[in-house]
């Protein structure tokens, strides 16, 4: 006797749709506040007695939950998480598991009571800023941080394992774990980074050309052709051994550009090659390096089988160089970092200080302490004492800095004073760091660090000026890549493989064009500080020739993307983007359910309740063949009322997008069936086709404003939003509306909000 309907959830959804359009009063998340609230003594206590106490009673209560101990409303309020769980199981019909079952009125009354009396948040007590679990740099943050810290141009984190996702994003502290595999990668990356950023004079030069050698069984040679990138000294290396015979060692002539420059007796034998190096001065350009076997010996009749045949085995030929790098050829990272070089041993410490103090403070995003600095310097000293060059010692210090938890984690440690307040405002260094990782997915730049050092980041309108500057900076493309890419599920596009037979026009190039359109569009809203509702409806978009053809937009030629004014109302805003339409489709057909769910989750942050457990299989309909268009077949499916209650709403949104096929192409027919893209949303808004649906969605200003704010806040904080965040969000959406709903208004509200500016310092209530 499971109850499959979820009246409250379905009701909330219906209510959400029936909320008044944009010009009405701003309202928080929909709550069934209109209905009269039940009374604990009158309604709830009898409910518990009738439906719960059969199992949840006494010392052996099911699930360890004894409801007979509940005496008052206050008792329930003490256990918020438990109340949330009770609400969920009541709502989904999981509880009570068997008869007697409450009727819908009783159930709704208790659910309302839980909502209104137990779970409703009291914002008058001030805002709880929450407590972010320390965040490890994720892959893109690591790449960007290294790029901006050391000016090296490679992406060491591309080889790291993928970061897990929570709350829809991959920058959530609680979910970012650090397995041994990742620390291995950090160690290897730190080695490579330090060696690339700082050039050590005693480094083994990298080979510029390598060739497999040959076994030379008679007088003959093997050679390596290579190009010297610049004039200078080069090292030529032949790794060789010999099968020895006769009374002399095998001899190898080294030839450079066909001239013999050295003759070497090869002592190695028995399969173990040894390196034979020659250092030469070369002009830039092509050269030939050869190894020649010159003293063949062959006596097949020799009584000693080991003395019959002399051969030279050249295993490998390599060229290295140029060996001496002139100062002006040092990499930019080296010149920026290595600002001094100790001429005498007593200059070592002061030079290290000069280099490391600013560097470590940037890498760790706070002033390095003297003690930390001296530990690092002693590492350089040890390295130099062991015979390494100064640069090698520096490389080692760099490695430590980059593998340290101070670099890998974004730390916001608590004050150690026992009388510290329960909420603290984070310091300017921490704030600069939160800002830069929010907007740039990277460390603060010098300007932010300078403000932090001066303690003036919050002074005057410094903060809003910085935010505006940062949004205009090219580094804010990280916000497009990482926030929009995840919020809109763009990153999933590369895992979607539309059926080639049905969609022959879809290929990897079109796939990346689709992504690019959405990226550029979001970027334009961000950089031009447009109105956030442009995301839902807009007369412009970004196309190249291929995507324009896909959209049947004429007169666009060439690979490069450009801003295009759309010629008709088939598209406009995110919901007309092929990227999003493809991500929400199955490989062979569209999925109105997925599209509807996507809209609810990502445009209104009102995800539909999950399907009830144990949905009955659709056996009933098995014998009667479903016929007609996809829409008609789905509607036949939904004749099952337990599905219809939620699906009517989800699917209606999806049906409104049926003019777009599974790769986002426009269509008027699906096979033989004409597309019916009309619908009526709960609350009575009717539409004909995607353009009208867009208008309706766009008019739900309050919901979209709140949705974008909540998604962006989750991303900015790196934690899921908790019930108490509602108070902060309420304040924020009010101000955003007052600031005309520009993109920067949303960002500015977030960075000046309590959850972003402060931190709960108390440790007590952590699990």
């Amino acid at each position: 006797m499971r109850r499959l309907l979820a009246p409250l959830a379905a009701g909330a959804l219906a209510l959400w749709f029936s909320l008044q359009p944009s010009n009405a009063q701003e309202s928080p998340l929909p709550r069934p506040s209109d209905s009269p609230v039940a009374d604990f003594e009158r309604d709830v206590k009898p409910f518990i007695a009738t439906y719960c106490l059969k199992c949840h009673v006494g010392d052996k209560a099911k699930g360890g939950l004894a409801f007979d101990k509940i005496e008052s409303e206050a008792d329930v309020r003490k256990y918020r998480q438990l109340a949330e769980r009770v609400r969920a199981v009541l709502d989904s019909g999981t509880m009570p598991p068997e008869d007697p079952q409450p009727d819908d009125r009783e159930r709704t009354a208790v659910l309302n009571w839980i909502e209104q009396r137990v779970l409703k948040v009291d914002c008058s007590a001030g805002i709880d800023p929450g407590r972010v679990t320390l965040r490890r740099l994720n892959k893109s943050e690591y790449n960007n941080t290294i790029r901006d810290l050391l000016l090296v141009d490679f992406k060491p984190a591309d080889d790291f394992p993928s970061d897990d996702v929570g709350y829809g994003f991959d920058n959530i502290g609680d979910v970012l774990t650090l397995p041994p595999l990742l620390l291995e990668k950090y160690l290897a990356a730190a080695e490579k980074i330090s060696e690339t950023a700082v050039l050590a004079p005693d480094a083994e030069p990298k080979p510029i050309a390598t060739e497999k050698g040959r076994t030379l069984a008679s007088v003959s040679k093997t050679s390596l052709e290579f190009t010297a990138p610049a004039a200078g000294e080069y090292r030529l290396r032949a790794r060789a051994w010999a099968m020895q015979a006769g009374d002399e060692l095998a001899k190898m002539e080294i030839l450079l550009d066909d001239k013999t420059i050295e003759t070497i007796s090869v002592e190695a034998s028995g399969g173990q090659g040894a390196n034979h190096d020659v250092t030469v001065k070369l002009e830039a350009g092509k050269h030939s390096f050869a190894a020649k076997f010159i003293n063949d010996y062959y006596k097949p009749d020799d009584p000693n089988p080991n003395n019959r045949d002399r051969n030279l085995v050249v295993e490998q030929m390599q060229a290295f160089g140029p060996l001496n790098v002139l100062p002006e050829n040092l990499p930019a990272s080296h010149r920026a970092l290595v600002t001094c070089r100790p001429e005498t041993p007593d200059q070592l410490v002061s030079c290290c200080q000069k280099i490391l103090k600013p560097f470590v403070s940037r890498a760790w995003r706070r002033p390095v302490t003297d003690e930390e600095l001296s530990r690092l310097i002693s590492l350089v000293e040890q390295s130099v004492a062991a015979g390494d060059s100064f640069e090698r010692g520096l490389q080692l210090a760099l490695q430590v800095v980059l593998v340290s938890p101070e670099f890998l984690f974004r730390l916001e440690p608590d004050s150690q004073a026992s009388d510290s307040p329960s909420v603290r405002t984070i310091n300017d260094w921490e704030l600069a760091t939160r800002l830069s990782y929010f907007l740039w997915s990277s460390l603060p730049d010098q300007e932010l660090f300078d403000l932090a050092a001066a303690g003036t980041l919050r002074q005057g309108d410094n903060l809003s000026q910085q935010v505006r500057r940062m949004l205009k900076d090219p580094r804010s493309s990280a916000l497009v890549e990482n926030f929009a890419g995840q919020w809109l599920n763009l990153r999933l596009l590369k895992t979607i493989n539309p059926d080639k037979q049905r969609f022959p026009g879809f290929d990897d190039r079109l796939r990346s064009d689709m992504e690019q359109e959405t990226r550029l569009f979001f970027e334009s809203v961000m950089r031009e500080d447009r109105n956030i509702y442009d995301l839902l409806d807009s007369t412009d978009t970004f196309l190249n020739e291929r995507l324009a053809k896909h959209y049947q937009v004429p007169d666009i030629s060439g690979e490069e993307f450009r801003r295009v004014t759309l010629p008709n109302n088939q598209r406009g805003g995110l919901l007309g983007h092929a990227s999003i339409l493809t991500v929400t489709s199955n490989p062979t057909r569209t999925s109105p359910v997925k599209r509807g769910k996507w809209v609810l989750e990502n445009i209104f942050n009102a995800p539909p309740p999950p399907p009830p457990p144990n949905v009955p299989e659709l056996k009933d309909t098995k014998d009667q063949q479903l016929t007609g268009s996809l829409r008609q077949r789905m509607e036949q499916h939904r004749s099952n009322p337990s599905c219809a209650v939620c699906h009517t709403q989800m699917d209606t949104l999806g049906f409104g997008l049926e003019n777009y096929d599974a790769v986002g192409g426009w269509r008027d027919k699906d096979g033989e069936f004409a597309i019916d893209a009309s619908g009526t949303l709960p609350g009575g808004s009717a539409f004909q086709g995607p353009a009208e649906l867009r208008q309706i969605l766009k008019s739900r200003r309050a919901e979209f404003r709140r949705c974008l704010t909540e998604k962006l806040l989750t991303y900015a904080l790196g934690r899921g939003l908790e019930y108490y965040d509602e108070c902060a969000v309420n304040q924020m959406v009010r101000s955003i509306e007052g600031n005309r709903d520009t993109f920067s208004a949303v960002v500015l509200e977030i960075v000046s909000s309590d959850p972003f500016q402060k931190r709960r310092a108390k440790r007590g209530d952590e699990p």
Partner: protein
């Protein structure tokens, strides 16, 4: 005068910067023999788990009769040449994958509970928690005998965005191995990275001197940062400390590995093998390549424990290359449509073909007086029975290998439906010489395996 000389082997090895290719020396075996006291013979026992998502079409998976004389059902036909090397275990159940009051989310729970036997805490992210997985129980106790305590393989990366399953963090539906109740071990999906990690303990063309300096430096780096982390720890709250403990645990593990690196490892099997170029475009090739690496890792004894997730749970991968262009997950909700059943069977059989490839490979490698497969215990299965019903009882489970003589494969064994899958793990762990008395809802060890 003409002599053939195979230079490739040696140059390949040099190129990898490995230790020298030593011939197989019996004298090297003692370091193994102390590892697995429960196993007979000189070579160690290996343990591996293969996972496939979305359940299988059970009607064409479960043989109609029991014992040795059963007919191989359609999906399992690719294993026909190996019939005496594996058993089909019917009736096993992972009850912690059931909702048990947590509502929907069967896919996330299926993978999260498959090896842990624990109920996953329903959360989008804060405070993820399930339990230590069977492979990690083994790795914790016998991992110190090998360079890597365990190997986590997969073909999919973790999820890239979005919500994975009804309120469960994506960590649950993409990770099978859990080092602690709160720390999943991410899978490696790039064959190139796996190869380099396992077998190239250095850099191409690096001199011995440079390598030893790097190792010395790594030790100094780890010493230094361990001290930093310990000092830092005292200034953090509980959740932050947990993250730092992961860091410290990783530091310790790598320190042990560096210390153990001086022990000789016989890499003969690896010589001449080309380093994989990256992730192949062909899914079957990807699975086989990862399988090859697992086999190599076992053969060279760089690890004895491995997991391999063929696709993340709930995967909606298209199998167009076997004429199944629809998404796997969508298909698995087949509504008893016969055409969909056929397609699901194709997918199931495709996975089994790849599994057969790996088993054949293990079988082709002699070890002691038998094959490498004889010294393995390999579980293949899914945490969902039928994809449409989302049930977690009567799971599809294969147990391959002879467990060094402690298993008698070649049978279809039917257990009473509801028998805890965790009982199987306890039995396998016992054979590995690993102490484990309880896991999740285990009621003892599984009978009738010997």
């Amino acid at each position: 005068m003409s002599k053939s000389f195979e230079i490739t082997r040696r140059t390949a090895l040099r190129g990898l910067g490995t230790a020298l290719a030593l011939p197989i020396l019996e004298g090297m075996l003692p370091s193994f023999s102390q590892a697995a006291p429960a196993s007979a013979g000189s070579a160690p026992m290996r343990l591996a788990f293969f996972y496939v998502p979305n359940g299988v079409h059970m009607q064409d998976w479960t043989p109609s009769t029991e014992g040795t004389d059963y007919a191989l059902p359609h999906i399992l036909e690719p294993l026909s040449g190996l019939k005496s090397d594996f058993s089909i275990l019917t009736g096993l159940t992972q009850s912690k994958a059931n909702a048990n009051g947590d509502g929907p989310g069967d896919h996330a729970r299926a993978l999260a509970s498959f090896l842990t036997g624990c109920q996953a805490k329903k959360t989008h992210g804060a405070d993820i928690r399930v339990g230590v997985s069977a492979d990690q129980i083994a790795a914790d106790q016998i991992g110190r005998f090998t360079r890597f305590p365990s190997l986590e393989l997969g073909c999919d990366a973790g999820a890239q965005s979005g919500n994975c399953d009804s309120g469960y963090s994506c960590a649950y539906s993409s990770n099978i191995a859990w080092k602690s109740a709160t720390q999943p071990l991410v899978k490696e999906n790039n064959p190139k990275s796996v190869f380099e990690r396992l077998f190239t303990n250095g850099r191409p063309g690096e001199s011995a001197e440079a390598r030893s300096r790097r190792e010395r430096n790594q030790k100094s780096v780890l010493d230094f940062v361990r001290d930093d982390a310990q000092r830092l720890r005292t200034r953090l709250g509980v959740n932050d400390q947990r993250k730092l403990d992961e860091y410290l645990g990783a530091v310790r593990e790598i320190e042990l590995r560096i210390a153990a690196a001086s022990k000789p490892i016989d890499l003969t099997a690896v010589s001449g093998k080309a380093i994989p170029a990256g992730i192949p475009g062909d899914y079957g090739e990807h699975i086989r390549l990862m399988g090859d690496l697992m086999v190599l890792a076992f053969q060279t004894d760089v690890t004895r424990v491995s997991t391999f997730v063929l696709a993340n749970e709930g995967s909606n991968k298209s199998y167009a290359f076997i004429e199944v262009p629809e998404g796997h997950h969508d298909l698995s909700h087949h509504g008893n449509d016969a055409a969909k059943h056929e397609k699901i069977k194709k997918i199931n059989r495709f996975h089994i073909e790849q599994f057969a490839y790996v088993l054949n490979k293990l079988k082709s490698i002699p070890e002691g007086d038998g094959s490498l497969l004889d010294r393995c215990q390999i579980v293949y299965g899914s945490g969902i029975g039928d994809g449409n019903a989302h049930n977690h009882d009567n799971l599809p489970v294969i147990l391959a290998g002879r467990g060094a003589g402690s298993l008698t494969p070649g049978r279809h064994i039917r257990y009473e439906n509801g028998t805890p899958l965790n009982n199987l793990y306890l039995s396998l762990l016992e054979r590995m010489g690993v102490q484990a008395e309880h896991m999740g809802d285990s009621t003892g060890r599984l009978t009738n395996l010997a």
